[in-house]
Symmetry: D2
Subunit: 298 residues, 4 copies
Amino acid sequence: MTNALAGMYAALLSGFADNEDLDEKRQRNIVDHVLRQGLKGLYVGGSTGESGLMSTDELFEQQAVVKDATNGHETKLIAHVGQPSLRDSIRLARNAEKLGYDALSALPPHSYRFTPDEIFHYYKALAASTGLPLIIYEIPGRVGRESSVAELSAILDLPGVAGIKFSSMNLMILSQLRSKHPDSVIYFGSDETYMTGAIAGANGGIGSTYNVLGKLYVAMDEAMSGGQIERVRDLQAISRTYVERLFEVGVMPGIKLSLRHLGVDCGPCRAPFRILSDAGRKPLIDFLEQPDVKPWVS
Amino acid sequence: MTNALAGMYAALLSGFADNEDLDEKRQRNIVDHVLRQGLKGLYVGGSTGESGLMSTDELFEQQAVVKDATNGHETKLIAHVGQPSLRDSIRLARNAEKLGYDALSALPPHSYRFTPDEIFHYYKALAASTGLPLIIYEIPGRVGRESSVAELSAILDLPGVAGIKFSSMNLMILSQLRSKHPDSVIYFGSDETYMTGAIAGANGGIGSTYNVLGKLYVAMDEAMSGGQIERVRDLQAISRTYVERLFEVGVMPGIKLSLRHLGVDCGPCRAPFRILSDAGRKPLIDFLEQPDVKPWVS
Amino acid sequence: MTNALAGMYAALLSGFADNEDLDEKRQRNIVDHVLRQGLKGLYVGGSTGESGLMSTDELFEQQAVVKDATNGHETKLIAHVGQPSLRDSIRLARNAEKLGYDALSALPPHSYRFTPDEIFHYYKALAASTGLPLIIYEIPGRVGRESSVAELSAILDLPGVAGIKFSSMNLMILSQLRSKHPDSVIYFGSDETYMTGAIAGANGGIGSTYNVLGKLYVAMDEAMSGGQIERVRDLQAISRTYVERLFEVGVMPGIKLSLRHLGVDCGPCRAPFRILSDAGRKPLIDFLEQPDVKPWVS
Amino acid sequence: MTNALAGMYAALLSGFADNEDLDEKRQRNIVDHVLRQGLKGLYVGGSTGESGLMSTDELFEQQAVVKDATNGHETKLIAHVGQPSLRDSIRLARNAEKLGYDALSALPPHSYRFTPDEIFHYYKALAASTGLPLIIYEIPGRVGRESSVAELSAILDLPGVAGIKFSSMNLMILSQLRSKHPDSVIYFGSDETYMTGAIAGANGGIGSTYNVLGKLYVAMDEAMSGGQIERVRDLQAISRTYVERLFEVGVMPGIKLSLRHLGVDCGPCRAPFRILSDAGRKPLIDFLEQPDVKPWVS
C-alpha cells in the first residue's frame, strides 16, 4: 500500500477571487499548471493552500473542484483534513473518501497545546473514520514542541496510518523512523534541503515550491535514486535560491506572484497575508528568467 | 473610555451538548453562574471558550446567546473575534457591535508565522471595522515569538485600540507598556500570578479560573488597590493551588469538571480535548471542598 | 539562619587594569563605592563580576581582596564559587570559608547540558564541602532549560542549602518555592522587575545595577515591606529606565561607564566584552544626571 | 590551504587519573588508540575533551602531550583554543603554533550572551594572533542562538579563517555557506547524521564517536565520495545506533566506558559528569559486541 504513495507531491495552492472568495476557475488554473509538472500527485487543502484561513465548508468545495479538475489524469490525490476540531477533520475525511481521493493527511491538532495523549487519540479516531490510508504530520514549528520517536512511532503503528509528512530539521528522528518503519511513506517537507531528508530515508516530498519547480524536483528525485550526488546538489542549489528569494517577500505571496509571471491566473493570498511590495518583486522575477532556471519553469 | 473597561473578567467557557454541538441551555447555565461572581464582565468566544475549535458561524450564535443571557445585568461584554482570517474576524466584530457588545478583542493572527507588519495591518483593519474599542493580545506561547515593546506600542497607538490582554511572563515589557500607555487597559492573562502583573501595571485581569473563583479575584483586586500585600498573597495562593490541580488534569476539562461539581450543567469539552480520567478528579474535587476554598465557590 | 541572609545585595563588579589583569586598587575602589550604598551585602565573584572570563586562581585573589576591603563593615559577604568543574568549585568554597565569608553561592553547572541528576549531585557535594550556607541558582537563560519545582525543591532540601538566587521570569515557580520553603532565602535576580519577584515571595535581591543604584533598591525594599505600592512603582521605574539604557550599550560595559562617570576608577571589561562606542554613552550619562536620578547616585 | 585540512577527525578525549587530574599516560593511551583508526587527524582540547571543565594551564599541558604522542605519524592536529576570555584563547593559540599544530579552532565566546559584533571581533583578534588557519564554530545549542548566514559568512571572510565546524541541524545554512565559500573546510559536527551534512556540502567531520568508530567514519566518507548511498546509509545506521546507546548513559561517560571495554585505560570523566550506573552499561557493551559492529572497533 505505501509504496504506491511514495514520490513527489505539490502542496497545492488555493485559487481566490480578487475579493478573497474561493474561486473555482482560478483553482482549476492552478491544478492544470501543476499537472503539467509530472509529479506523483497533489496534496490538497494543506497549509500551503491557506487552509488555516479557510472554513471547513470551503474545503469541502475545494476537494470537489480539484477532484473534478484531475479527472482523466493519473495523479494521486491526498486530502489534508487536519481541521482544529476532530469532528470537522472527520467530516472532511469522509468527504474525500466519497469523492475518490487516494489518501488523507492531517496536521497534528494545533489550536491548543495538546498533550501527546490527546494527539495520539486524535489520529487514532481520524484513521478509523474512513478506509483511506492516513499520512500524519510532524511540524514542531507549528505545534510548539518536537515529538519524540516513541510518540511518532506509536501513531505510525496505528491501523490505517500509512506514513508521515516530516517538516522538522531533526534528521536523527527521520532516520530513526525510517529504521523502525521500513514500509511507511516518509515525505520530507523542507523543499530547500530535500536531498538531506532523502539521504536520511525519505521516499517522497511534499512542498510549496513544487507548484512552480515541480519538474526540477522530479529530476532531483531521479538523480538521488541513481546516486548522482553532484547533479542532486546542482538541482538543489536552484531550489534553494528560489526559497531564498521567497523568504524576502513571503513564501505564499511569492509563489502566487511567480505563477502569475508564468501566465497562471491564480489570484491573491487571503489576509492577513500581505500583498507584495513592488520592491520585492524584481529579484524573484529575475530568478525565474535566469537561463539555468527557465527550462524548469517552462 | 479605557477606565470604563478596567477590571476583572471571566474568560467565558462554552457550553456543549453531549454530542459536542453548541448548546444554548448549557451556555446559559455557565453565564448565570459567572454573573453571580460579581466580576466586571465577560470575555466571550476566546481561547478558554474553545473558540479555536469552533466555526465562525457557531461564534455568531454564541455571541447572541450570551448577550441575551446577560440582559438586565450591568456586566461588560468583550467579544473575542480573532479568527484566522481577517474577513471572518471583521464579520464577527460587526455582529458583536450590532448586538450591543462593549468592546472587541482578538488574538494576533496565528495560523501561520505572520510578520510584525502583517500583524500590525491585521489589527489596523480590524480596529477600523467597527466603532467599538479593541483589545489586542500578546501571547508568545501561542504565536511562537515575543513581540517587542515597539511593535506592541505601535498597535496600541492605532485609532480604536483601547488596550491589551497580556499573556506573557515578560513583566519588563508589561511595565514598559504601562509607562508608555498610561490610559490603556492592560489585562493580565496569568491567573496564578495575577498579583505580579498587577504590581507591574495591569489594571485588570481576564482568566479561565475566574469562571470558578471569580469572587476571589474580585477580592484580590480590592486588596491590591488597598496595599494589603499579605492578603493578596493569601488569595493568590488559593488561586495558584487551583491551577496546580488543573495542570494535573488539563485546564479546560478540569474547569468544566469543577463547574459540574458545583452544580452547573455545562457539558464536555470538544475533542481533541480528552475526558478526565477518574484518577485525576479526586485532588481537584478535594480542593474545592477545602474549608478555606469553599466560601469562594459557594 | 536564613533570615540573617535576607536582603539586598550588589552583584559586585571586578576591577581590571587597562591590560585586563585583575587590579587590586580598582577592586577596592568598587568595593568602597558599593559599601556606601547601605545594602545588606556583596555577592562576590558572580557573573556580573565577569567570573565567567576569570581563572580560579584570580577568583582566589579576588576573594581575599574583597574580604580585606570590607573589614570593619557590617556587610554580609556571599562568595560565588560556581566554576565549571566541581573540584574548582569546592576549592573556591573552602577558601571563602577560611577567609570568613558568610555564605556561598554557585551557578548550576553549565559548561555542558548536564542532567537534573548531575546538577543535584553537584550541589549536594558542594553543600557538604564546607560549613557555610549555600545559595543555589536558577537561570534558564544560561543553562538552556528551566528547572522544575520538584528539581529545585529537592536541592533546597539538602543539608547546608539555605536559599536560591532566582533569575527566571517564571514567577509561578518562584511562588511555589516560597510556599514549599518558607524558611529559605529567595533572592530575585531581575533588577528591572524586582517588585514582581518581591510580591511573589522573594525576600531579597541580588543585582548588577545595585552597584550604581544601591540606595534606591534599599528604599524600594522598604517601601515594599510597608505596602507603599505607588512608591515601589516609582522607584522601579527609575531602575527600569536605567536597565533600558544599559541594554543599548551592553550591561557590564554600561555599568562600568556609569561608575567612571560617578568618579569611581574601575577600569574596563575583559574581552570579548567590547568597549562602548561614544554614540552610546550620552543617553546613559544623561540618565545619571536627571534630577530624579541624581540623588540616588550621589 | 583548506583542502589540506578536509577530512575526518576525532574530537579527542582527555585522559584523567582516578582523582580527575590530567594524566599523561592515559592521554597517550587514548591518542594511540585513535591513531590506529586511520582518520585524517585529531581535534585536541575541544568540548569532547571536557575542556569546558579544564583550566587553561591544563590545556597547555595537554597540547604538548598530544603533540609528542603523535610524533612520527602523518595525522593533522587541530588545537581547540576557545577559552572564555580572548586573552586565554590567544595564549593557547600561540602555544599550539609553537608546538607545531596544523590549525586552530575555537567555540564562539559563550560564557555570556555576546552580541554578533563581539563574536566577530573575538574571532578577528584570534585569527590575527598566529599564522595558523582558524576553524570557527557554529553551535546554537551551546551559545543560545543561531547565527545568520551573513554573520557566519563575514567571519569566514576574515584573513586566516579557513573553515567552520558546523554543529547545528539547520542544513539550509550549511548549504548556503558551502555555496558562498567553496574553498572553506566545513566539518559537520553531528556524528549520527553525518551523511546529511555531507550531502549538503560538508567536506569533513569532527566527532566524539570517531574515537571508537573511526574506521567506520573513514569508510562512510569514502562511500559518500563514490555515490554509494546504500552503503553510506548502512554505515550511518551503525553510528546512529551507537549514539542512541550513548544517549541512555551520557555521551562522554559512555564513550570512556566503550574505550575501557576495548582495552584502552582512559580513566573517568570529571565531575559534574556522573559515573555510569551498572544498569546502563549492558546495552552499550552488547552493541560493541554485535557481529556487524565488532569489525569496526577491533
